[in-house]
Symmetry: C2
Subunit: 458 residues, 2 copies
């Protein structure tokens, strides 16, 4: 057993307790009342990086939620890798569906249950611990490392592009390794070569300037919920195709080799359906389910509200109605253009008697595609062979990590996904969890990966 | 000045304070947590009727919210009138729009601001005080009176039909006078000869069995909000016509004389629009605004909700989405049939991949139409001439008072509307108010009306 393996084993109980401490911080980036908690989480991460032995640990301002930066740059002539993760988490509602409170982590059957356990606090702690194990046992790292942990991934990293543009020298590197993501299963590794992008808007419809009695006014005025329903229904055709003019114009079509690589990965439709309790799937004609979620764009209504939502009946015509919408984008779609197309579509589909406002969220992300045979992917593939005894799948994700696209565009480097979440761990949902076995395996994986990347030639 | 006028003047300050006490009771019938407050309000009404000098004061159980009954039956050979009102109120949300708390009544500029001030607590207190003035000054009433104050009008009086059917002898009378309703304006009286009926349902749409990540599942499954939007949008055509099959089948068409009577009442469209802050009206083609709200049926979505409603963006596909719907019905439409038509429509318009449930609310009401020259209307008209110096309009209301139809069907008697709310008093909305001048005028009106009805020959 190597020294660093021994170090990891000896400290595992302490590392788990530290993860639980980290998970107790309510760092929900999407809710402004948690601003102080975001900063508390940043301070926690900075302190932990310091303890691990990193230099130049800094909490850097972005204009919104801060970034935690640290580096270790004492390997001249060796590559430099930036390791990415995020310490912010999703909101927790519906709260009543949690079996244990989301910010009071519980270990049950070798799993840590808490908001952020999987996405991304448990995951992002792994490289910090791996670096510590190498530094404490060898006194040095095999290559240059920069840590780069952000606090606004779950709101789409609105300030990240400007920040990167303003810190290009500081962030310069040969490769990014992302600790936000996952493996295929407990015994099957995967490399992620594609991510979808993101664009989001809120739609606000206004009718009368106050809620009015449906007996007195019903029939005479436009009901803002009726107007909103018509707008929302106009976004899709009956077969699920998106009907926003221009939406598909720039979409990179799937090539035969893309479809083959996707089809090579086992897919169990019954298990997919059972995992979310649906009887039938539904989506764009002409594509497999995996193609629909990995390589085709979507327009989803994430929330809708207006009028009376309480118990019983209230005969009211409300003053306003609202919806939140987000699109998952694929290669070559420009988020700003998509928002423009949606805005024009809403204007064209607003019925008479209603006023409508479309407000884009700042969180946009381009889609991401990386060559399967990139040297960084080759290094990760070698480590996976050692960790799992298996070749990785070359998959994609339907999710969005703005960071990958931003780093590629601003610094010209790709991002290797090297993270240990699994797909059944209820990411973004009540009862999110993370396996302690993944937490431990990831630490070994990162030690191996850093050694292997030290030999990388770009 | 008559003795009872003098009595009313002398006690006015006390009566106002009593109204404020009554308004402090949070008797929201639509929210089950307020059940004890409903009973508290019933007890308040019973005690007040007792103080006024009524006999046989009783709180009667209906299976849900109780009724308050009282009578004075010492005028043999004279007609018997039942006086109706309700002591329950609407919910108060959105709470943040109230200038003063809804259950902490405030008097500003001669108006009482509170939930229920206008609808119907202020109004229903009026006949109790008028009866007291007559009894305390004359020692008797000019005719037989029954009080009948219910506690579930705002949820559509679900238990009222059964209750009336089970108490026909007790409730027998020659005429009902309703203290729930209003006048045309501060200087123009009106008689109400028509009301719309009511039918209501909730629609619940289910997709996945938990909220899921829109990146992982977006594109592969039906989003329950998309399904709901399609269902809701299918209810109306672009011109506002209701597209539910069978919905208009039984509607009593407007006759020329109906349209003339409606057109004879002044209507200021600019003022109507300004009162609710809309730039344009919208409704069924071929009808005037007043015809649309008084004599044509509607289908309104009163509330919609599903998914994330908080600040910012959350990229989720929710498990469920919901809507509350109510219809205003006109003469000859059967509420049960309408609910059946809606249910069938929803089934026919449910897109693939979603499960939908339609749950009718118990609160249904048939529409109501009364002859304009009924002796009860003639008596009320005489009093209005005296109170206002003007002939009343013969109008209708777009609202629903299940009581009128139920009494007509069960006991064969019509209901004369004799109440003093005005249309600008934000009924069912934040900042509901009632004018103290209406409160005082109504008391005189009821004393005059009871004298006049004593001479009525059916």
């Amino acid at each position: 057993m190597t020294d660093w393996q021994h170090y990891l084993d000896e400290h595992q109980e302490q590392f788990i307790q530290e993860m639980l401490d980290f998970l107790r911080i309510t760092s929900i980036s999407g809710l402004s009342e948690h601003m102080p908690d975001i900063r508390r989480a940043a301070e926690w991460v900075a302190a932990r990086a310091q303890t691990a032995g990193m230099d130049n640990v800094r909490i850097m301002e972005t204009g919104a939620h801060p970034l935690v930066y640290a580096d270790w740059l004492h390997a001249p002539g060796k590559p430099t890798v930036a390791i990415y993760g995020h310490y912010d988490v999703q909101p927790v509602d519906p709260l009543d569906l949690w079996e244990s409170p989301p910010f009071e982590p519980e270990i049950r059957d070798g799993r840590v249950y808490a908001r952020g356990a999987n996405d991304d606090k448990g995951n992002m702690l792994i490289p910090i611990l791996a670096v510590e194990a190498l530094l404490k046992t060898r006194g040095e790292l095999p290559l240059n490392v920069k840590f780069f942990f952000e606090g606004q991934e779950e709101i789409g990293s609105p300030n990240l592009a400007d920040f990167i543009a303003g810190h290009k020298e500081e962030l310069a590197c040969d490769l990014v390794v992302s600790a936000d993501g996952g493996q295929w299963s407990e015994d099957q590794p995967a490399l992620m070569i594609g991510l979808r992008g993101l664009a989001a808007v809120q739609i606000d419809v206004t009718g009368p300037d106050h809620d009015v009695h449906s007996g007195m006014y019903g029939g005479a005025i436009q009901n803002p919920i009726h107007a909103l329903a018509q707008i929302l229904a106009s976004f899709h055709g009956p077969d699920g195709t998106i009907r926003v003019q221009g939406f598909y114009d720039d979409v990179a079509m799937l090539l035969p080799e893309d479809r083959e690589r996707i089809a090579a990965i086992p897919y169990d439709e019954e298990a997919f359906k059972a995992s979310i309790g649906v009887d039938e799937l539904f989506g764009e004609p002409g594509y497999t389910t995996r193609e629909r979620t990995w390589a085709r764009p979507t327009l989803e209504i994430n929330g809708v509200w207006g009028g009376f939502q309480g118990e019983g009946s209230k005969t009211v015509i409300p003053s306003t109605a609202h919806a939140k919408i987000s699109c998952r984008l694929v290669a070559n779609q420009d988020p700003e253009s998509i928002i423009e197309h949606i805005t024009r579509h809403v204007e064209a589909h607003t019925p008479p008697g209603a006023r409508v406002m479309v407000t884009p969220y700042e969180s946009v992300a381009g889609a991401y595609l990386m060559p399967a045979d990139h040297p960084g992917n080759q290094a990760a593939r070698d480590v996976h062979l050692q960790l799992y005894g298996k070749e990785p799948y070359y998959g994609r994700s339907g999710g969005s990590i703005p960071f990958c696209t931003l780093f590629l565009e601003a610094l010209g480097v790709y991002t290797v996904n090297f993270a240990f979440a699994l797909r059944d761990e209820l990411q973004h949902s009540p009862n999110e969890f993370f396996r302690l076995s993944s937490f431990r395996r990831g630490q070994t994986g990162y030690c191996l990966l850093l050694d292997r990347l030290a030999e990388m030639r770009g």
